[in-house]
Symmetry: C2
Subunit: 273 residues, 2 copies
């Protein structure tokens, strides 16, 4: 059997009881290491799970699926993913590959930022399409996500913005070489995302009507599910100057606030702090 | 401390390790019993958690919050909710009440249908606003949710439809009496939701442009996260005749399918079965 087990958001104890039983009973356990920050705590996970974990970088999960799935028809193999197994498309890919190989699969769900963001008081059913905000480079400054934010805002919906994570990215110089040299991991912070958004607005890089301005209310969320979780709400212009501390960060561009949402979110506003 | 702990979707072992520790160490543990079906298995939960649970119906959670929160400033009190704590607005309410009473609060996240629905192969970030489809009565046939489905479909997004649950609803006759008599619990099935949707379309009960027809592709999902989870995909007209078995059911009105989504969902289509 091939299992994908979600390990939740922060604490090593966020795995479910069922997930832990499967991990402890499996022949091989891989830890997906490129869509979140948890793998930095691999040793803690190994201690708590009482077993060794094999690190699975993007290359192994995307190109080496058959290596992961090797013998999974006769023995139990687990891929641990941060959050919920269906947070990233690559996990759908490997499930399809397992099915092609006639390997039975099972998924153990867990919390992901997609539902845990509800802790800021915005109701989950008032969210529209989720967007990803990528790191800009000197030559590559994509801005099309603003159109999705506008589509959501036009009908009153909130937009969850997932901020870029770059783990195990080869340096530009080593791209063509046999031995890759990796850049240090980078995690986009909320103030950087706000700064990029403000530039997009200033440069009018949107299609159709724009609903996002310096005064747009948004929520910055850091380390959701961790003991030191931090949430701050304010205007886009204010949030550029807010430091939410270590990663992971995500943010919400707020649509139309309902009274209960407004009441709950008050505790996080810059004025209230 | 007042804890709200998500217990996940199906199995008693879907609680997180951290959640279980909190439950076992708490003074009082309430089990929210009106937004899902899990409480029918209260005895199993009590056996696995090794402690007794106090059933909390809608009335207690909404009107009797102070009873639940009694002494939570000095001892640990837990409210267990099915799925994730932020799936229902009433849980936001009780957190606000706790804050008013200067009681510390903590939330333990878990999977909810909002993210677990990803198991049908539709990418979570392609979902728009979630809608609820209520049971119709002879005199009350709300249809406005079709407008939200259309808003989502107009921009290519999928719509998660949460189907009505009626647990501990007093009978009409006993509404004005001191002693309430309760109706048996009811859980809407996917075929019933499809039938109501088809009636709405036939009666042209929508504002603006309609994107939903008998040929609209949708996904019925039953008992997500349970061992006997069942997913069937087909047109609205086809799904009216599909029996997905016992509750809970939910469904997705599919927006624009991306190639990977199309590939994954194929296994669930009526033709493939």
């Amino acid at each position: 059997m091939f299992y994908i087990v979600g390990v939740g958001l922060g604490d090593v104890k966020d795995i479910t009881v069922r997930g832990l039983e499967i991990v402890r009973g499996a022949k091989r356990v891989y830890l997906e290491s490129y869509t979140s920050i948890l793998p930095e705590n691999k040793i803690q996970l190994e201690q708590f799970y009482e077993r060794s974990l094999i690190e699975a970088d993007r290359n192994l999960v995307e190109q080496g699926a058959d290596e992961i799935l090797n013998n999974a028809d006769t023995e139990d193999v687990v891929l641990l993913v941060v959050g919920d197994p269906f947070g990233a498309t690559t996990h759908t890919d490997i499930l399809l590959r397992a099915q092609d190989l006639k390997i039975e699969t099972k998924v153990i769900h867990n919390a992901s930022i997609i539902n845990a963001i509800g802790c800021c008081g915005l109701q989950l059913y008032h969210f529209g399409e989720t967007v990803s905000i990528p790191f800009w480079t000197d030559n590559w400054k994509p801005s099309s996500f603003i159109n999705k934010i506008n589509q959501n805002k036009a009908i009153g919906l909130h937009t969850l913005c997932l901020l870029d994570i770059q783990v195990k990215e080869p340096t530009w110089e080593s791209l063509t070489k046999k031995t890759k040299v990796y850049q240090p991991p980078r995690f986009m912070e909320v103030n950087q995302a706000c700064s990029q958004l403000l530039q997009i607005i200033d440069n009018n890089e949107f299609d159709g009507k724009n609903y996002v301005s310096r005064e747009t209310f948004c929520v910055g969320a850091a380390r959701i599910g961790w003991p030191d979780q931090k949430i701050v709400a304010g205007t886009l212009a204010e949030m550029v100057n807010v430091d939410l501390g270590p990663p992971l960060h995500s943010m919400v561009i707020v649509g139309t606030l309902h009274p209960l949402e407004e009441q709950f979110i008050k505790q996080f506003t810059i004025e209230s702090k």
